[in-house]
Assembly symmetry: C2
Homo-oligomer: 247 residues x 2
DNA sequence: AAGCCTTTGTGAATAGGCGCACAAAGTCAC
DNA sequence: GTGACTTTGTGCGCCTATTCACAAAGGCTT
């Protein structure tokens, strides 16, 4: 075990594992649900069940943030909510711009989950003249030409790319040049960005293909594969990877 | 090295690694792009660059499907497209139903990427009377009451859940009871399903929170963390985990 | 036909994540 | 104040994934 005096450096020491970071939002959501039900305290076992993970994993994840539990009792919900929120950077507001106002862009613009967790949509941009000026979810669509100006003036720090595939890299380059270092990409392309820029991608088509792969396995494989072999865990969890939506 | 005579069993032997399966669709997309440009042959280095991965990883991934490359030359694009498609089960058609026709459901219904890769949307269902009968992307929205009937009659094998969070588990239970074993979940809840059912989730809110975490790190951390430490790789790749959209 | 050059396929080393199982720590009842 | 009970925090071994680095394989030129 690490010596006691190192505890302070250990917690949150350069590096909460990526896998842990990816689960913190899930825990946070479960905690909010508990809070709404008026629950004040929760054990790792209960919270793990709600989040769909192993309780040891949950405890290890939380231990990366520090020692916020009480042995024999559990975790105080409110305190944990605060600590996770702080760790994820949700105690501050993040200004988001959405580029591309097609079907998906509209859906994202109307998505309630933004505001609820400290994300504020400050811009809706598109290149298509026919949608410029349109009102969507209380915002007016602006021209992509004003991209740099809007990013600078409104302090946009996260950009969501929901353009057709062909436009995504160009838009991304401009966005990065304008100083943005966090991009959420829904376009079905692999974006190339400089060191220090963080890109995450969401890709419906890839998810479906992964499902198809497993479904096929269950059904008996492409050609003479053993049916039912290599099946899927099927406990509602799916780790992995995600990419984006075809335009 | 594995003996030559085991080669046949090795390829696709019970278990292409999950991580590999998740990347195959990315390779496939890159290959299609090459095909469109009329490229007949590609080296692992080139294809890896297009897919945004390490070339050794690409070769190892492909080696799980068998030996489809020619040393000194590379891979034949068309042949590789076929092999990957077959492995992913894209040589057959998959019948998909979308439950929940809110903003997101509509975007998904209108999403062109479905048809293009062997996925056919055969149903659009909702519980809200006011949208039943509406025409969306050439399909009529049907009542969720007919869920079981529609799944059975049309041979639906993959269901996309785009309902509000509160309804997702109930819908999922019904879908599973009706025999579906592959679910793509956009609702911001952890779905519980029996063994053998495969659930993948897509969650915008979680992606944003992960971005916020890294963005905060870059900016200097929650309280006195070392700025610029533990930054993100930032090469356009982001592995991880994804969950779903708040209703 | 022989040798050079390119590129694959994969062993081996490394890194990272997972989950068991348990000692340590704290609560609660009496 | 003491002891029984609960639950955390984590050491440890296992397993998967990643990356390097190179021998084997094949094509191409002369």
């Amino acid at each position: 075990m690490t010596s006691r005096q190192n505890r302070t450096r250990d917690r949150a020491e350069r590096g909460i594992p990526e896998a842990t970071v990816a689960r913190l939002p899930v825990y946070l959501r479960a905690l909010h649900a508990l809070q709404d039900r008026g629950v004040a305290t929760v054990s790792s076992e209960e919270l793990a069940a709600a989040a769909g993970v192993n309780s040891a994993k949950l405890r290890k994840d939380l231990s990366h943030l520090g020692s916020y539990g009480t042995r024999g009792v559990g975790y105080e919900v409110e305190y944990l909510v605060y600590q996770i929120s702080r760790e994820l950077g949700l105690t501050q507001d993040w200004v988001v711009a959405i580029i591309g106002v097609g079907n998906l862009g509209r859906a994202l613009a109307g998505y309630g989950g933004f505001a609820s967790r400290g994300f504020r949509v400050a811009g809706l941009l598109d290149a298509d003249e026919s949608v410029i000026g349109q009102e969507i979810s209380g915002m007016t669509v602006e021209h992509i030409d004003r991209l740099e100006e809007i990013i600078a003036e409104r302090g946009v720090s996260i950009v969501v790319i929901a353009t057709p595939a062909a436009a995504a890299q160009t838009v991304c380059d401009r966005v990065v040049a304008a100083g943005v270092t966090s991009v959420l990409n829904f376009a079905p392309v692999v974006l190339t960005v400089p060191e220090g820029v963080d890109v995450r991608k969401v890709d419906l088509s890839i998810e479906l293909q992964i499902l198809a792969f497993h479904e096929q396995r269950k059904a008996g494989g492409p050609d003479g594969y053993d049916p039912m072999a290599g099946g899927v865990s099927g406990n509602g969890r799916a780790s992995g990877y995600v990419e984006a939506v075809e335009a």
